[in-house]
């Protein structure tokens, strides 16, 4: 069923009976041409673009739980392409362009809201750094505006502009086209659109091992039986290390936990995304009025999907320092996800050391914004057996070849963006 104003009116007036499921709950077949493991945004987007852009035959997405139950359904939905390094900038900007047409493309409202993303600067050197990054962005055709203190105050007057501020605001870097989207809608929209192109979405289906023929992966063992595959792509985010270990691989990835929080609903307070530059804190306001915010990793390896209160206190302290009026707000919920932290802070998309097995992982803090671009290039990689121009720099062998994409310039630590 195609969604439109007419279909909404027709069903609405008929008391909303007659809506059909948005996608089939498929049962696994014995064999597929391409299997994508992981039914988060990335896996579903990959399947969608495989069916849309390439002629690869039968495609399935295997999801251990239900689609969107991983990080996609837990993230704070910030979308941006404000990167310094060329490879990152081009990749994320391709994603930004796909975001801009996504609701129409999928015939599903992903509620993409280009409300802007402002990074605050609290010192002169930080302003210099932002000027450099903004210039690099503009050279790559990405929108960037350097704001002075007064321009920031105009946009977000509730920030701490007092004389006594511990971290005075010098200005900020704005990406006007950045913003937020609705995470569940992205999952559902891609699932529905992929299903309509014939992709099987198979839930409750955990991959528990790989079928090998020599050095080649020729299928998977799952909790719902063995399935043969021409090619297998992993898009399991925080569980990449584990699933890859089933094939005997060790990867430059650690799984860490990241928490986020939402406050009680408030009247409109901030109409943009703001990130603190003197600590790790970021904030936006959902359409329901809740302030959605988060900060740093808890800081140690974890698969727990729940964190410690200590980090929440730390995040809230940074938030109150940035925007003092937050101190009167009540916290509604906090939760956590398992992050696939790569050793240079950039994703890994491309061939694995085993024939027939491909990797899409290392999304660190920020894989939601990458969902469309990641699906686009991973579909290409799986279809062609070779990377797309936009993910050539993201292949696993970059670590051995000394071409790490270290946006932060911090060396091999699994804690960068």
């Amino acid at each position: 069923m195609r969604y439109s104003l007419a279909s909404l009116l027709r069903r609405g007036l008929a008391r909303n009976v007659g809506w059909t499921p948005a996608w089939r709950d498929a049962a696994p077949r014995a064999a597929y041409d391409v299997i994508v493991v992981g039914g988060g945004g990335h896996g579903l987007a990959t399947a969608y673009y495989l069916a849309r852009n390439h002629d690869v035959g039968k495609v399935a997405v295997l999801e251990r739980g239900w689609i969107g139950s991983g990080n996609t359904g837990r993230n704070t939905t910030i979308v941006r392409s404000n990167y310094l390094l060329d490879a990152n900038a081009r990749f994320y900007e391709h994603g930004m362009k796909l975001w801009e047409g996504l609701s129409r493309e999928l015939n599903f409202n992903v509620m993409f809201s280009q409300r802007g993303v402002i990074n605050l600067a609290h010192s002169k050197p930080q302003m210099d750094g932002f000027a450099r990054r903004g210039n690099a962005m503009r050279l790559n055709g990405i929108d960037a505006e350097l704001l002075d203190r007064e321009a920031v105050r105009e946009k977000v007057p509730e920030l701490d502009f007092s004389e006594a501020a511990r971290f005075p605001i010098h200005g900020g870097l704005l990406q006007p086209r950045g913003g937020t989207a609705r995470h569940d809608a992205v999952v559902w929209g891609y699932a529905r659109a992929a299903d309509r192109l014939g992709v099987d979405i198979i839930q409750d289906c955990e991959v528990t091992g790989f079928q090998m023929q020599g050095e080649r992966v020729v299928g998977v063992h799952t909790s719902r039986g063995d399935i043969a595959a021409g090619r297998v792509g992993l898009a399991v985010a925080g569980h990449t290390g584990q699933v890859a270990a089933l094939a005997g691989l060790r990867l430059p990835i650690e799984s860490h936990l990241l928490q986020a929080c939402v406050s009680e609903p408030l009247k409109p307070l901030v109409d943009t995304v703001v990130t603190f530059g003197a600590g790790h804190f970021y904030l936006s306001q959902s359409d329901r009025g809740g302030l959605v915010f988060g900060g740093d990793l808890d800081g140690y390896n974890s698969y727990a999907q729940r964190g410690n209160l200590g980090m929440i206190e730390h995040v809230v302290a940074a938030g109150v320092s940035m925007m003092p009026c937050l101190s009167r707000t009540r916290l509604l919920r906090h939760w956590a996800g398992v992050m696939d932290m790569s050793m240079d802070g950039s994703p890994i998309i491309g061939a694995s050391p085993l024939d027939g097995l491909y990797l899409n992982c290392g999304w660190c803090y920020g894989g939601f914004k990458a969902t469309p671009a990641s699906g686009w290039v991973f579909a290409h990689t799986l279809a062609e057996g070779a990377p797309h121009a936009l993910n050539q720099a993201f292949t696993l062998d970059r670590f051995a070849e000394g071409r790490c994409l270290d946006e932060k310039g911090a060396g091999p630590v699994p804690g960068a963006h």
Binding site: G241, R250, Y303, A304, P412
Partner: protein, 89 residues
């Protein structure tokens, strides 16, 4: 999360800072490039017991070695960083 410091006893995790995976033996200076590559970048990243370094940075400032479950966060064994871990209690 509670961490047992061999010198101070059980303390809140907030008193400690993380020093990362302690299961990787450092290769010899003249080891093959592939060994150094694996040492610097690759990880076992287990879901379950994991050997790791922590520092009691807001306490006695000693470095310790823990075996901690990455799924339950339970600390299974702890000892001084420079010594191999026993089986725990």
């Amino acid at each position: 999360m509670l961490i047992k410091c061999p010198w101070c006893g059980e303390r809140d995790a907030g008193e400690f800072s993380y020093g990362g995976d302690a299961s990787r033996p450092r290769p010899a200076e003249d080891a093959a490039e592939a060994d150094w590559l694996a040492y610097v970048y690759d990880r076992d990243n287990p879901r379950g017991p994991h050997q790791e370094f922590w520092q009691h940075s807001h306490g006695c400032r000693q470095w310790l070695r823990l075996r901690r479950d990455t799924l339950s966060h339970e600390v299974l064994a702890s000892g001084p960083a420079g010594e191999p871990l026993g089986d725990g209690e």
